[in-house]
Amino acid sequence: MKKLIVIGLLALSLGGCAQLQAVGTGVSLATKSVANPVTKQELYEIEASIQIAVVALRTYRKACEQNAVDSACRANIRAIQPYTRGLVPLLTQLRSFVKQNDQVNAWVAYNQLVTLYTNLKSTATNLGMKVS
């Protein structure tokens, strides 16, 4: 019974993909410009949004490894991983640029991060994961 509850809640969290949507809102899909610098506070908000999504994805993966979620979970995880792996270098760059107040490069990294998320969302939608 408990297993079914976990599956249901994960389906609600991942199938509904509220946290993936949170990344989109947290990153606020608007591209950055000179008039809209990336601050440390905003960097924190972006990373907090992404962390919530990744915690959920990690939980989904653990449940998948225990055969507690849908049979397509392994394929779903492998389809999402190129995007989550792509987050790593972009986050590293964004952190460095924001802390050095290199706003021009920070905007570039930020906008690439938003584009990557948009692609992740599109892939998740194609997998039947509602993300918006």
Partner: protein, 71 residues
């Protein structure tokens, strides 16, 4: 700082907590994170320690999710 973004982060984090508890996952770090986001949203500042801790946690979570699935 965008208050709507702050509220969305908090809301989505809270939405996730029941699933984590049911899955037997540790929720205290997530709750602390949500509290820190709320605090930063109210004060408009985030400390270096808070940012460093978040980055360490995110890097660890990403590394775990990004590792190859066992056959």
């Amino acid at each position: 700082m965008d208050p709507i973004a702050i509220f969305t982060i908090i809301e989505k984090g809270l939405t996730l907590i029941p699933a984590l508890i049911e899955a037997g996952q540790e929720v205290i770090p997530l709750v602390k994170r949500i509290a820190a986001v709320a605090k930063g949203g109210a004060e408009g500042t985030v400390t270096e320690d808070e940012l460093a801790q978040l980055e360490a946690d995110l890097d660890k979570a990403l590394a775990e999710f990004n590792s190859d699935l066992p056959d």
